[in-house]
């Protein structure tokens, strides 16, 4: 799990040198993004992590609370791929988040995929909000591939997505559709469902 640090570095519990370096990187990207994007979640307190950073962290952490079917786990080489389809909102944040991490013994990698077909080898697929128009095609292409679909597109879970980021006040939350996940052979941990703001249990029919 990635540790969240404030700008006051002394509060971080650094495990090793490389982690420290990545913190620094994160810090820089935070500072950079701060000026560029403006942090919507900042409330005049100490600078909080940017929304996309939080989402990046969550994106990675979802994998901790989801079970892939056994055959999938064995296949797909020895890398755990988190892919982004469409416009990448994370920048370096996602890369930084997953650096040095492993999931079930496989090292985590991030990929940018151009099409849905390319995404079938991913474990987690983030569908950018830029793909709103083509969502249906994407999801149809994916079919029941064992890929955890995550997006912050509105009504994503109603439209056949598995995990949808929502904003509650200034907190990043998410809702899940356990039926869709189940159809794809994925098991969402009850721990995950516990913290989801909403759990849908129905597969969208048709359109």
């Amino acid at each position: 799990m990635r540790l969240r640090c404030r700008t006051d570095v002394s509060q971080c519990i650094a495990r090793d040198r490389s982690t420290g370096r990545h913190f620094l990187l994160l810090l820089i990207s935070v500072a950079a993004t701060w000026g560029v994007v403006g942090v919507p979640s900042a409330q005049g307190q100490h600078a909080k992590p940017a929304e996309f950073e939080v989402k990046a962290t969550y994106l990675y952490n979802f994998s901790r609370f989801v079970e892939w079917p056994a055959q999938v786990a064995q296949a797909q080489g020895d890398s755990f791929a988190i892919c982004v389809l469409g416009e990448d909102p994370f920048g370096a944040a996602l890369k930084a988040t997953v650096a040095q991490e492993t999931v079930a013994g496989k090292s985590v990698v991030t990929k940018q995929v151009p099409t849905a077909q390319d995404a079938v080898s991913c474990r987690v697929l983030f569908i950018s909000s830029s793909e709103d128009k083509r969502l249906k095609e994407i999801l149809t292409s994916l079919g029941t591939a064992t890929v955890l679909t995550v997006s912050d597109l509105p009504k994503f879970t109603q439209r056949g997505g598995m995990v949808q980021f929502v904003l509650e006040g200034n907190k990043v939350r998410f809702e899940v559709n356990s039926a869709v996940a189940q159809r794809a052979g994925l098991t969402l941990s009850s721990e995950l469902l516990k913290v989801a703001v909403n759990v849908r249990r129905s597969v969208p029919s048709g359109d």
Binding site: R4, Q11, I13, N61, R64, L192, K194, V195
Partner: protein, 485 residues
């Protein structure tokens, strides 16, 4: 004393158990708290990961069911408070303890509470710390109960011990002590009429006590029997003594009167024979003169015999005096008296030093006179007579001896020596009445002493006598002296 020992033992045992229980209860409390913290933490991981403090609070609220948990707080890995539960919302929790590097858990007991902080990890990385505080009410209740139980058990045990001890004392120790005391009293006062108080119970103690009493009774019986026998013997002795005394008295008065009465006619015979010899001696035939001389000699002899008998009888009649006499002086007197007999003879007098003695001077002079004149008489045939007089100490008694190198006597007939009219020599060899030594024996015995003699025919004789019997050693001393000489 016993009570103290057993009381202390119980107390120590109780304290030990109590301490152990306390220790193990504490350990258990900490363990349980740690488990609770872990459960809380594990169930709050997703809440932490996805920053859902409400979910964490829901999890924490389950602690309502744990009556002793005062508060629980979840901190993120950064040390930021995330979610909290407080049993009493008014009481704020103190700051948590820091977990040292490398440890998962840290706890501290303080002011009636136990505080525990546990590190929660998720996939090997620290993700939160759970800080829990529990009051020690349960433990205190337990301690209290335990203390009460120990006190109660202790008290009951002591009471039971006291009761048993006193009952044992009554049934065992006391009778024995009494018995010992009685034995002591009996020994001390030599009073065998005392009895130990009888002991009921039919056990060995009763047997002991009654046996003890029986033994005392037996002792008493024996004492009584002994006393009676003694009395009986005393009586017998008294009787015999009386008889003896009577007999002696009779004998003495008989001797006296006989001698006395014999004297008169003898005097007549002597006197008239003498007159006859003086007046008509020249007118008689020589043979007739001889007969007359014979009569006169016989009269003289008889006269002496009667004198000696009278003297012997007198010894018995006279009261004995006890005066301290220097025997050396007495001896000198006697030697002077003996001059008529000893003068004109070659006599080697070897005189030792004699001591002073409490005795009757007249009687003891008689002893010396008789013994010395015997010595002189029986050494007549020797060219040089050796007469030795001395004194030896035998077992605390002074024994005087008179030794001569005269005719001696056959020791086989030693007993006869001191018999009245007993003579171991023929009258032709040595004249004598046979009364001298028995007189000496009487005198010596009258002084409470004893006389004995040793001799060898042709070699000589030694007479030993002791005048006073010192305790009961006299008989032994006599024997020893007799053996030594």
């Amino acid at each position: 004393m016993n009570m103290l020992v057993s009381g202390t033992a119980l107390l120590l045992a109780g304290a030990g158990l109590f301490a152990y229980d306390l220790y193990s209860f504490r350990a258990r409390t900490v363990r349980d708290l740690g488990i609770q913290a872990q459960i809380i933490g594990s169930n709050s991981i997703s809440a932490l990961v996805f920053d859902d403090s409400r979910s964490a609070e829901t999890t924490l609220s389950a602690l309502q069911a744990a009556p002793h948990v005062m508060s629980a707080k979840i901190y993120t890995a950064d040390g930021v408070a995330f979610a909290e539960y407080r049993r009493d919302p008014r009481q704020a929790a103190p700051p948590p303890l820091a977990i040292p590097n490398g440890q998962t858990e840290v706890y501290r007991f303080q002011s009636g509470q136990v505080a525990l902080v546990r590190l929660i990890t998720f996939h090997g990385k620290p993700v939160a710390t759970v800080y829990m505080r529990s009051d020690l009410g349960a433990m205190q209740d337990r301690e209290h109960t335990f203390a009460v139980i120990i006190a109660a058990v202790l008290l009951m045990s002591l009471l039971a011990a006291m009761w048993m001890s006193s009952s044992a004392r009554r049934s065992i120790a006391e009778p024995i002590v009494k018995l010992a005391e009685t034995a002591q009293i009996v020994l001390r006062e030599k009073n065998y009429s005392i009895r130990a108080p009888a002991h009921s119970g039919g056990n060995e103690l009763a047997v002991l006590t009654s046996s003890f009493n029986e033994m005392l009774a037996q002792i008493q019986e024996r004492d009584a029997a002994l006393e009676e026998a003694r009395h009986h013997l005393e009586r017998q002795v008294q009787e015999r003594t009386a008889q003896l005394n009577a007999a002696n008295a009779d004998l003495e008065s008989f001797s006296y009167s006989v001698s006395h009465d014999l004297r008169a006619p003898l005097r007549h015979i002597g006197a008239f024979s003498q007159m006859l010899s003086e007046d008509y001696g020249t007118k008689m035939e020589p043979e007739a003169q001889q007969h007359l001389n014979r009569i006169l000699a016989g009269v003289k002899n008889m006269s002496r015999l009667i004198d000696d008998l009278l003297k012997m009888a007198q010894i018995g009649r006279k009261e004995m005096v006890r005066v301290n006499i220097d025997l050396n002086l007495l001896l000198q007197d006697v030697l002077v008296d003996l001059q008529p007999e000893s003068g004109g003879r070659q006599i080697d007098w070897r005189i030792g030093n004699l001591s002073s003695v409490d005795c009757d001077p007249g009687l003891v002079k008689q002893v010396f006179t008789n013994l010395l004149s015997n010595a002189v008489k029986y050494t007549r045939r020797r060219e040089i007579a050796v007469i030795e007089i001395g004194q030896v100490e035998q077992e605390g008694t002074s024994v005087i001896f008179i030794r001569d190198n005269g005719a001696g006597f056959d020791e086989r007939y030693a007993a006869k020596l001191f018999g009245v009219f007993q003579r171991l020599h023929r009258a032709e060899d040595f004249e004598g009445t046979g009364v001298g030594l028995s007189t000496v024996q009487r005198i010596v015995r009258k002084h409470g002493g004893e006389i004995w003699a040793k001799g060898e025919v042709g070699k000589g004789a030694t007479f030993f006598f002791a005048l006073a019997a010192k305790g009961q050693g006299l008989a032994h001393a006599i024997k020893a002296a007799a053996g030594a000489s």
